[in-house]
Amino acid sequence: MSVKFETRDIVVPGDLLYEGRIRTGENTFRREGNVYSNKVGLVNYGNDRVSVIALEGTYTPLVGDLVVGMVTDIELGQWVVDIGASTDAILTINDAINKSFRTNFDMTRVLDVGDVVVAKIVDLDRRRTPILSIVGRELGKVHEGFIMKITPSKIPRLIGKKGSMINMILRETRSQITIGQNGRILINGRNREDEELVVKVIHKIENEAHTSGLTNRIQEYLRKIKEDRK
């Protein structure tokens, strides 16, 4: 029964985190009664639980996630969407248009191969394939803007506590930003300069995601750049 690290220490896969019985949190596994880390991350002891905040991670689809994906194929009655997960996601016609349709419905009129969509994961089917929906506000085909990718494990940091980080960035840069939980971020600024600023800031957040006091530092960083421009 003992703690092997201190909270917020960096651990690597296979590191022994806790000896004895305790609840296992994210990114940990149990072997021979002890708890080990399975990712590179920051260890967190608390609430009778050991977890690791991953510094690098792949995207695991969860119901309710907002994702940015690209249509890669059209099948019978459904689109195949690449969302950067281990398997492609499926978007059926029912989840794409909110009205009845005929069997000879031309699907390319709604979405074609190569189109980018903002969608919500509404279900995971029996094979754990994500099922998407684009019916809803601010969902659907993307017409303008560009996409940047960051590690999906750093998305919570970009959003911040109750959206504090992203709201601050929105306020300061006056750009439209859609954050997909899969690590793809859709940016649409008023001008090129604003967009470049957003990219810069997001890169900074990605590189310093594991440090504390980030929101304040980013705010200062934004102010400094803005002053330099004037």
Partner: protein, 266 residues
């Protein structure tokens, strides 16, 4: 055969007072090693390793949809490793086409790394590992495994443990660690070992050449000791990527600007 080698050894000992390896290392000393993680921006994870004069770059992609789909498995993910030597990695130039040897080493690396992964979490998917040998100097399969393990951890793929690998062998009648190109070719025997340091399991064990049973056992033990040293270097490489920012954080803590509330979740 053993008689012949014995003769050779005694001869050497008489001519030279002190026995030394070609590059002046101690029998249980590794070559200088440098590992760096996150070197390929477009890969999900990557690593670069220098082990002596070996230079290898490894990229990891996935877990992603498997193409062609018929090779995917319904109940688990698949690990696909590709070991490839660049034409300029050896002298004389080598054909860039994958050789029989490349194919075999690819398979061997796959089998060495697979036990460390939770592949059952990614059904119908594939994790691709590409190891490109830029410069070869003996023991490339071990160096590839070391770099691949770091690259997989860098990609954020769940792992039970890192995989460390190192060879030991017999050269000039002595058991030595981490054979270089010359020792590999001129030596009597070569035993590459891959090892899960925390789980204490061997995942790769090959042997080439002739040795007695005792010598082989000694070789394996020595190689495992080498793997443990490699493991420390791998850990260092993974932590180093975040080290620089850590210092900045400490400075800030001193000035008292640290936020007390952590903003982890949305």
């Amino acid at each position: 055969m053993s008689k012949k080698t014995k003769k050779k050894t005694t001869k050497r000992k008489s001519s030279k007072k002190k026995w030394a390896r070609v590059d002046g290392r101690k029998p249980d000393e590794l070559r200088p090693m440098k590992i760096e993680s996150g070197v390929i921006p477009n890969a999900d994870g990557s690593a670069y390793i220098e082990m002596g004069r070996n230079k290898i770059i490894v990229g990891v992609y996935g877990p992603r949809e498997m193409h062609p789909k018929r090779f995917s498995k319904p109940n688990r993910g698949v690990l696909r490793c590709r070991y490839h030597m660049a034409p300029f990695s050896v002298d004389p130039r080598r054909s860039p086409a994958p050789s029989r040897r490349d194919q075999e080493i690819s398979m061997v690396i796959t089998d060495a790394i697979e036990p460390a992964l939770f592949l059952e979490r990614y059904p119908r998917s594939v994790i691709d590992v590409y190891a490109e040998i830029i410069e070869a100097d003996g023991g490339t399969r071990c160096a590839s495994i070391n770099a691949a393990a770091v690259a997989l951890a860098d990609a954020g793929i769940p792992m039970k443990d890192l995989v460390s690998s190192c060879a030991a062998g017999k050269y000039d009648g002595k058991i030595v660690l981490d054979l270089g190109d010359h020792e590999d070719k001129k030596g009597e025997s070569d035993v590459p070992v891959a090892y899960l340091p925390k789980i204490d399991e061997v995942t790769l064990l090959q042997m080439e050449g002739i040795m007695t049973q005792e010598e082989t056992e000694k070789c394996i033990d020595l190689a495992i000791e080498g793997c443990k040293q490699v493991y420390e270097a791998q850990k260092e490489a993974l932590k180093k990527k975040y080290g620089m920012v850590d210092e900045a954080e400490e400075k800030e803590e001193e000035t008292g600007e640290e936020e007390t509330v952590e903003e982890e979740e949305e």
